[in-house]
Symmetry: C2
């Protein structure tokens, strides 16, 4: 008995392409002698469809894709694939998150039972929970089907009262499939591994886990497809961050297949995730376009430039350097060195004349200049105007270069450096940006050491340093993780040994800047709590 685990990358709403890909992987699995091929959750419609699920035409299209797929399943192989199905009952949510089992011209369905409704997940918005198990009898096996969260009841903090695995155990199954779409974060694979191990141990059953791969708007998927035995052994493992067809075969009481290496280092993991994210963002939007990157001589823009060059090819990236009177000689030199190491050309467009003219004009209106953040913001917004002119002219996409630390405390100019078609490192803390830069240099050696080691500065006034305004990032970042990712109160962070005045100031900055983040571009999510869909906070309110 052979089972093929198809770790594929589908596109939301592109039913024809998704169908073709599923059929092609099925053919390939059949050719390799597989008796069954398993695809990820919602592979048919793409993930996450979000409110496209409110559109009856979108749902009909998914249902109507099942029959044509059935005709393309060769004899002798079964297909298990995720999609959506309408709930025929007059009550309850309109849809089911469904696994379709197709074989011999027949279709059977399973409906997901545990519906995550936290963080980036809103499954209770769309789906009615299923109630009944599905068991596939094939090749002497009794194979239970689950979808993603169905096996996550082993984490008590998720507080599920019911375990679909209990039902399968009562059905005396010999093997469990899990169709997943489990979003990447730096820490996620360890949690996933833990969930699979606990299930294997608790139920004494082998699990075949199939997850999607690819970038989908804000969510990234690293794959992670594997076979988990009851003793905790991973006996097959698909490569991360790419499509794969992992064949597992029953040998004795174990399912075995090839084992691709894991990605051990956080910096490498971030690099591969974000490269994949950028590639898919452009590909799936059908953008045969250039990425515009404003380079500043700092580490953030250097990292974004390098990721874009790796993802899209250096020729698809247009770096623009926009110096002003406050740009240091070091910056000029490092920008040149960065591009030289990358073998790239860049444009230099000074904002100085525009800045001077605008100051002169405003001074005439105002009598004097405020001498505060007003002037700094003008520079950032002039840069944005020029970068967006490049983007418009090239029909390209300007990449945002803000990191999560500055975004959290509002250290950035709305419509200035906070602009961009998509945010590449908006979920990467500054201290992680350094890890990412090191990982990039291990692969390409593009970023000059001095860019990595120089003190961060916005260069919006003379001799400015980030630390004029902010605590050092080694202090700030752990505070941000506690306040934002761990939802701790100021008091609770102070109990961890941090200065109360500092923590209170940081929390004030986080709160005051919700209105800015509300307007921030789509962020590639790489943490367990990214700004964006997964974190919904009132702008108006007085919670301190």
């Amino acid at each position: 008995m052979k089972i093929a685990l198809a770790q594929i990358n589908t596109v939301v709403g592109d039913y024809q392409a998704n169908l073709d890909k599923i059929a092609a992987f099925t053919q390939k699995a059949h050719a390799q002698g597989a008796d069954l091929v398993v695809f990820p959750e919602l592979a048919l419609c793409g993930y996450p469809p979000l409110d496209l699920l409110y559109r009856p035409s979108f749902v009909r299209a998914c249902e109507q894709a099942v029959r044509p797929l059935l005709t393309r399943v060769p004899e002798g192989i079964g297909v298990v694939v995720g999609g959506i199905e309408r709930n025929p009952a007059p009550h309850g949510r309109r849809l089911f998150n469904t696994a379709f089992y197709l074989e011999n011209g027949q279709v059977r369905t399973y409906h997901k039972q545990l519906l995550p409704s936290y963080d980036v997940f809103d499954e209770c918005r769309y789906y009615e929970p299923g109630r009944a198990p599905l068991v596939i009898e094939k090749g002497g096996e009794r194979i239970g089907v689950t979808i993603c969260e169905d096996i996550w009841h082993v984490l008590p903090e998720l507080r599920y009262a019911h375990s679909p695995m209990d039902d399968l155990a009562r059905e005396d199954v010999s093997l469990v499939l899990n169709l997943s779409a489990s979003p990447f974060s730096v820490a996620h694979d360890a949690v996933r591994q833990e969930v699979l191990m606990r299930n294997g141990a608790r139920y004494g059953l082998p699990l075949l886990y199939v997850s999607m791969v690819g970038g989908q708007t804000h969510l990234l998927f690293d794959g992670g497809t594997r076979a988990m035995m009851p003793d905790g052994a991973v006996t097959a493992q698909a490569p991360f961050f790419e499509e794969a067809l992992l064949i597992v075969e029953k040998k004795g009481d174990r399912w075995e297949g090839s084992r691709a290496p894991s990605v051990a280092d956080d910096g490498d993991r971030l690099r591969r995730a974000l490269v994949m994210a950028l590639r898919d963002y452009f590909d799936k939007l059908g953008l045969n376009r250039r990425a515009i990157v404003g380079v500043s001589g700092g580490i953030d823009s250097a990292v974004v430039l390098a990721l874009a060059a790796e993802a899209l090819g250096p020729e698809a990236v247009m770096p623009v350097f926009l110096p002003s009177r406050f740009t240091s000689e070091t910056t000029w030199r490092l920008v040149a060195e960065l591009h030289q190491r990358m073998g790239a050309t860049y444009e230099t467009v000074s904002i100085d004349e525009h800045y001077e003219n605008m100051l002169r004009q405003l001074e005439a209106h105002w009598g004097s200049l405020p001498g505060n953040v007003t002037e700094e913001n003008i520079q950032a917004r002039l840069r944005q105007t020029i970068l967006m002119a490049y983007a418009n002219r090239e029909n390209g996409v300007m990449l945002n270069t803000s990191n999560k630390s500055e975004l959290a405390v509002g250290y950035g100019t709305l419509y200035g450096d906070m602009a961009g078609g998509v945010s590449v490192i908006g979920d990467v803390l500054k201290t992680q940006v350094y890890q990412l830069a090191r990982a990039i240099n291990r692969a390409h050696d593009w970023i000059p050491e001095k860019i990595i080691t120089r003190p961060p500065s916005a260069e919006l006034k003379a001799d400015q340093k980030d630390t004029d305004t902010l605590p050092p990032y080694e202090v700030l970042d752990p505070i941000l993780v506690m306040l934002i990712e761990q939802e701790m109160s100021v008091e609770e962070v102070v109990q961890q040994g941090y200065d109360e005045g500092l923590v209170r100031r940081v929390w004030g900055m986080v709160q005051r800047n919700e209105y800015k983040r509300y307007q921030f571009p789509n962020i590639f999510r790489v943490s367990d709590r990214a700004f964006g869909y997964g974190r919904r906070v009132p702008i108006v309110g007085r919670w301190v």
Copy 2:
């Protein structure tokens, strides 16, 4: 027997102020002889708390507010007030959406049973549904308590299998309270009235409905507090768009009180909702600040300017006119006339020199100018840069002036006219902007007729008209309502008698511009499907 219905405006997270307000209204109700005073859903913590509910400290603060409130309830009166409570069970969501009944030093609770999880509502994200009814026995009445959605099962399209009202009917109650936080839309009061009527008729019970009032980030609350008798008669009605204490008294088998007039006209309704929204946005953020409005001589900015002047007072509004070479003489004249009629002064800051300099610089880099939207966008972004400089200098808030029609089709410049601290009319279709302008002029006669009647133009190139690019708004707006608010497919809209090529083009524009809307400021919601939290659409995807 007298019951006081307290239609109040609380602030998310400002427990002390909310508590003080609830205590003050309780005192007032007591002084007027009320036996019971009823407050809206989640009045204690403010609505909507969103993911602040994930913060244990926020939840503890709400629970800890109940006891101090209890000590402030005078003898002889009971208080029913909405708040949150933790779910002590190890399974299920962590919280209950709760009605606290406080009297004689005792607290009893009711947990909301029907949890809306659609549109702007994500209650399944936070709350476990309650299971048990609460009946208050007082003054010979058996009073059942419900919270908002609990009585909305009468709309079959919401597909609730269970009706908490059935339980109350079995409990033989004589009166039903409903604590609500039901967001405003132009059409909402008619739906609310229908829901109350159906409940009254089906169960033969009088209903006392108490809703919150005020603006809360994206959500507006018009109040709508009333007494509904089983025969469909509204026997008491609080004024709309303001705080009120509505006393109802039992006379025979009817509950009666004063009856404030409804707001009949959609334009007036929009005007009062948006004025309230602006006032609360500034008040609740603690912004004793000016609103900066870029005036263009068009109807959108004139309407936003007028709403801001009515909401904040004319002295708190700073209009800035930013002409260019493409600004017509008519525009110059109309801007002057608008301010003259309003008795307001404004600043005039030309963008022309900046525009010319930037074009010259870019032409030097590029060899020639693209002659497309690139140049138009530069103008819009230079205006934004100057407006934001005003906002920064004044420590003010720049108001966005985009309407929903242009936002839907992407007819606007990201970081240009799409910028602003908050969007005032981003949920108002262009055809509704005209209704709003008429309503403003009935109240103040501020907007010159010619601004209302002139053909819309962005004036970003010579002799430009919106209709060069877009269909007339009378044609566009109904198509947008069908595609967006009614989730119809292109085919379904065409079946309504619209040209297929046109509908397809509009739908293409709607879809292509998700990335722009993603970065749009917070919008005051006045329709049943606003852009923002209530509509979550993947940017990356290929659904046509």
